[in-house]
């Protein structure tokens, strides 16, 4: 492969070339591997490259395709996976020094499913240590250092799926797998100018993934387009008896629609998602909604219900994280984490009572009903992806990137699907995004809305300046 432009093609276009045998999976994999080896360190994007496994998978894909056994649109497509997903024989560090030498002798369900689809794993993506579960004060809270934003390497990618976002934005792989408990797919996609999909809770099995908060963790793709995200979701969704929270057969599967939705999505424009957002971002999100309105989407203002939703979400993350990492906290090995906040926050988490945790779970029950009523009137609700653009690598996140996020709290507490897509660039040249959320199990609505937007805009086709 000599054409670097092809490296930024969406999965759907790469797949068409592979299917027609105009593009070799072996060549494509080799090119992304070389690019990842050369450019990955510039962004602190990877923990490990899985070159041997990738080459074997690419050769297998090529043999199968030549033999006429084409598995589908991910066949022969390279990708990266966040380093909290178990991959047989390779280090799975959870981004954290205490687990730097951890290995598993099995593949996570998501990895198995992508293998089955013929996708080619080229590396384990860098991440915030323990997916940020213990809290963090600085972008450097990672075994591999701060992930650097391809649009400006003095800026951060956001977390915790930091490497996954950097990899896709820099054209080191066409898609990557990330996870979100609260913001860890949507924020990196917004900061890095890519598309991030947070599926409905339970649609994608977490078996073989590091647990942070059992009742809130989700796995989803970061990709170039909503269409690509849908293709990946189709491959990784499905019931799994090994994940206690997996949706049952008939609900967990996802089938990406190739045509337009039956009717333009009805969109609720959230007026209280962010207390204070950059005027540039507000204008970009408004302009994005205008585009959708011009293409037939009815749009009306809507407010999130008021209540202690973020408080409930925070309590749940804290308590479930304290349980998930009980050994780490009690042994004192949390002191080996990089971030000063992460080193001590677990001790604070452990002071929450069972009664308070149950109160949070009961508040969740109420919230589920309240938020669901919004979707009687709207197919999706929309807001700016983040209220700010990417922060600098040195920013103290605890003091200088501290703002209310009721939409993130509500969406994650209730397991709602969401997608983030780029919708412009700031005067400083940094990406800005918009997010869409829908009723549980209606992942198709957020994808359809984002696809419609991307069919009529070019923001997702912008590439960062990457020096040779």
């Amino acid at each position: 492969m000599r054409n670097e432009g092809a490296l930024f093609l969406p999965v759907a276009e790469l797949a068409a070339r592979i299917k027609s045998r105009a593009l070799s999976p072996v060549d494509l994999t080799e090119f992304y591997l070389q690019r990842s080896e050369t450019l990955g360190p510039r962004y602190n994007a990877y923990v490990t490259l899985t070159a041997e496994r990738a080459r074997a998978a690419a050769q297998r894909a090529e043999r199968e395709i030549v033999a006429g056994h084409y598995r589908g649109p991910l066949h022969g497509i390279p990708y990266a996976a966040k380093d909290l997903l178990a991959v047989n024989g390779y280090p799975t560090t959870w981004g954290a020094a205490p687990f730097a030498n951890q290995r598993f002798d099995y593949d996570a369900t998501v990895i198995q499913k992508l293998d089955h689809a013929g996708a080619v794993l080229i590396g384990k993506a860098a991440m915030i240590e323990l997916a940020g579960g213990m809290g963090y004060r600085f972008a450097s809270a990672s075994l591999t250092g701060p992930a650097k934003n391809p649009w400006n390497t003095n800026c951060w990618t956001c977390g915790s799926s930091s490497g996954s976002a950097a990899i896709v934005a820099a054209g080191l792989a066409p898609f990557a797998i990330g996870t979100e408990t609260w913001g860890s797919i949507l924020c990196p996609s917004s900061f890095c100018g890519i598309t991030g999909l947070r599926p409905t809770f339970g649609r994608v099995s977490r078996w073989g993934a590091m647990a942070l908060a059992y009742s809130m963790d989700k796995i989803g793709p970061l990709a170039r387009t909503a269409e690509d995200a849908a293709l990946v979701l189709e491959a990784i969704a499905g019931p799994d008896p090994k994940d206690r929270s997996s949706l049952p057969p008939g609900q967990a599967e996802f089938h990406s629609a190739s045509g337009p939705p039956a009717r333009p999505p009805r969109i609720g424009r959230l007026t209280n998602a962010w207390q204070k957002a950059s005027p540039e971002i507000v204008a970009a999100a408004d302009a994005a909604l205008k585009v959708l309105e011009q293409h037939g989407c009815p749009i009306a203002d809507v407010e999130l219900p008021e209540g202690p939703w973020e408080d409930a979400g925070g309590v749940m993350v804290a308590v479930e994280c304290a349980s998930a990492f009980e050994d780490l906290i009690e042994s004192g090995d949390v002191a080996k984490l990089t971030d000063p906040l992460g080193q001590i926050n677990g001790y604070a988490y452990k002071q929450v009572s069972a009664a308070d945790y149950l109160q949070a779970l009961r508040v969740r029950e109420i919230l589920q009903e309240k938020i669901d009523t919004l979707f009687d009137k709207f197919d999706v609700i929309a807001a700016a992806g983040q209220p700010v653009t990417a922060t600098t690598l040195e920013t103290n996140l605890e003091t200088d990137l501290s703002f209310a996020d009721p939409l993130g709290g509500i969406g994650n507490l209730c397991g709602l699907p969401a997608i983030g897509v780029p919708c412009g660039f700031s005067s400083a040249g940094m990406p800005m995004g918009i997010q869409f959320l829908a009723r549980v199990r209606n992942d198709a609505a957020v994808i359809a809305t984002a696809r419609l937007y991307q069919q009529h805009t070019e923001w997702h086709k912008r590439r960062p300046p990457i020096p040779d």
Binding site: V317, Q351, Q359, F403
Partner: protein, 104 residues
């Protein structure tokens, strides 16, 4: 909320000093929790970390107070489920797990 929501993507409400927002009971609760945490884990921490831990615990009590204020009727159940184990498909017609014998 800071201590909790610093997790993941670092979004959390803008802070004012937690001690100023806590009720008298909340302040007592924070002090007691801090004493307990320092008694349990303090030997691992330097003085700056001990002070920081006290702050984090105070900041964590404020959202708990907000959460407790939210009125809930007795019948509102927690939104978590106990999935019965084993699943029906794992059992044979006699209700036994294949390969497992009952008591001797």
């Amino acid at each position: 909320m800071g201590v909790f929501a610093q997790a993941l993507a670092p979004s959390a409400p803008a802070q004012q000093p937690a001690a100023e927002k806590l009720s008298a009971a909340g302040q007592l609760e924070a002090d007691a929790k801090t004493r307990y945490a320092l008694a349990t884990y303090g030997s691992r921490l330097n003085e700056a970390q001990k002070k920081d831990l006290g702050r984090l615990i105070k900041e964590a009590v404020e959202p708990l107070e907000e959460l407790r204020k939210y009125a809930l009727k007795n019948g509102v159940q927690p939104a978590t489920v106990l999935r019965l184990y084993p699943e029906p498909h794992a059992l044979n017609a006699l209700g036994e797990r294949p390969g497992k014998r009952g008591g001797t």
